[in-house]
Structure formats: C-alpha cells, structure tokens
C-alpha cells in the first residue's frame, strides 16, 4: 500500500544534488545511520552507474512503540539495502531503499527520483514514494507515516547541509565532523 508521495525542489543544479546524495553520510541530521557500504557497483556501456549499498542503522524503521509490544525486536542494528542508478545522459538518479531486517512482517520500499527542474536548470526536483507491505502494514500505517514525515524533513536538511559545505569547499569541516562521529561511535573493539 502506498503511504507516501511527495515532491521537493532543491535550489541547486542536478549535479550538485546527486553528488550530495552520494556523500550524505556522516551527517549531523541523520545520526541514526551507523555504517554504509557498497556491495556492488558497475558502469554499463551507456554510462549508467549502478550501485548497491547496505545501510546499518540504529533505526531505519523507527519502530512504533505499539509494534514493539507485539514483535520482540531486540536487535540494536537494522539493515536496509539501497539500489541506485545514475543516468548521466538522461540526468536522472533513482534510489530504491528496502529494509531487510523484519521484512517478512513489515517491508518498507522507498523510491526517490532526482531530475532537473523542467524549466529551470538551476533547480532539481526530488520525487519520493513509499509503499508498505506485509501483515502489519495496515496496522502501523499511521505510525509509520508520522515517522516518514519527520524523516523527510530531516533528509532535506541533511542534503542542504552537504550541498552547502561542498559549495563552500568546506571539506575540512566535514572531516572534522567525521572525526567527532568516529570518536563517539567507535568503541575500540580490538582491545
């Protein structure tokens, strides 16, 4: 069942927005994401870049408390897979994210498409669609929609943060943020 459709216009050209999408983490607006890794990546003969990444996060699904009572969710890390395609000729970037943790009971499928604004090339349009499937989807629809509303806002802020830093050439500031994040989340497991 489709639970979310939205459109947002970024006041930046497509290349800047897509570049920021790939450099989104670490990000002070999205601190639930702990790790992100590329599993597969290829470029086809048409120059289409296909990537598959795995996201490890504290709460990809911020589990509604009502659901926590029904399903024992004692895992602290949850995983999601993101498949993306960047078509540089057509100037489209499509990203599809699906959870793999608990996906037999609740599967969330998010599709985001970035394309240049049809009449103003200095702007980029993001279209987002989310569907929920699984035996609990009707039951948790409203709860999940609330979380998605909040996360969509955070996502926009996160993107603008990266775009602004890239624009100013603030790579040092990003490195500093990275260092601070690492010092907080890395518990020195080898000792």
């Amino acid at each position: 069942m489709k639970i979310w459709t939205s459109q947002h216009t970024f006041d930046h050209p497509w290349e800047s927005v897509v570049n920021a999408q790939f450099q989104k983490y670490p990000n002070p607006f999205l601190t639930d994401v702990l790790a992100i890794d590329v599993v597969n990546r290829s470029i086809d003969t048409n120059g289409i870049l296909k990537s598959q990444r795995i996201l490890s996060s504290k709460f990809f699904f911020t589990i509604p408390s009502i659901l926590q009572k029904i399903v024992p969710m004692n895992q602290t890390v949850q995983y999601a897979v993101e498949n993306s395609e960047v078509n540089i000729k057509e100037k489209t970037c499509t990203m599809r994210s699906q959870n793999i943790t608990f996906d037999s009971i609740l599967s969330m499928d998010e599709i985001m498409v970035y394309s240049p604004h049809p009449t103003d090339k200095s702007k980029t349009i993001l279209k987002k669609e989310i569907t929920l499937e699984g035996p609990l989807s009707s039951f948790v629809k409203n709860e999940v929609t609330k979380v998605v509303t909040k996360n969509t806002e955070k996502g926009k802020e996160a993107m603008n943060w990266v775009i602004d830093l890239n624009k100013k050439g603030c790579t040092d500031l990003r490195k500093e943020f990275q260092k601070r994040v690492d010092s907080v989340i890395l518990p020195c497991p080898s000792n």
Binding site: M1, E15, V18, N19, F22, Q23, Y25, P26, V33, L34, A35, I36, D37, V38, V39, N40, R41, I43, G47, L49, K50, Q52, I54, S56, Y79, V81, N83, S84, E85, V86, I88, T94, R96, Q98, I100, D103, D109, T131, E133, S138, N166, Q178, V181, D182, I185, L186, P189, S190
Partner: protein
C-alpha cells in the same frame, strides 16, 4: 562513518575517497571510465565476507532489482 565489517573500514575509507573524487570531478562531467576499481575489489571482498558472517548475504541478493521485471509485484488491492 563505520563499515559493516570493522576490518573493512580502512579499505572503505580509501575506496570512498577515490570514488567521491571521481564521481564529482569525472563521472558527473561525462567521463565514465572507472578509476577506482583497484580499490573497490578488496573492499567489496571484505564487505561480502562481513555480510556472510552476519547471515545477510542472501537477503541482500534478493533486493538487487531496481525497476525491472523481477521487481516485487504490487500487493493485491484490498
């Protein structure tokens, strides 16, 4: 940013650095020749081992479609 495999972090950082530079400076400007493949392979091998160790390999394989005919069909209309 961490890696799913703690021993993959160094490989990840090296690869990400190469990819981010290539993506911004080459790919988005129309140059499609991959310049980071030599760093990707060892990193990918490490990540795949970590996925295997966590029992996630199969699940990831099943989510490898983007808008193809193999895509999960929409749920039946209720």
């Amino acid at each position: 940013m961490e890696s799913i495999g703690s021993d993959c972090l160094e490989l990840k950082l090296q690869y990400d650095k190469c990819f981010n530079k290539w993506f911004a400076e080459k790919y988005l400007k129309g140059v499609h020749q991959d310049e980071c493949a030599h760093l990707f392979k060892p990193y990918q091998d490490c990540v795949k081992k970590a996925l295997q160790a966590k029992g996630l390999e199969e699940a990831v394989l099943h989510k490898d479609v983007l808008g193809t005919v193999n895509e999960k069909p929409p749920p039946p209309k209720s």
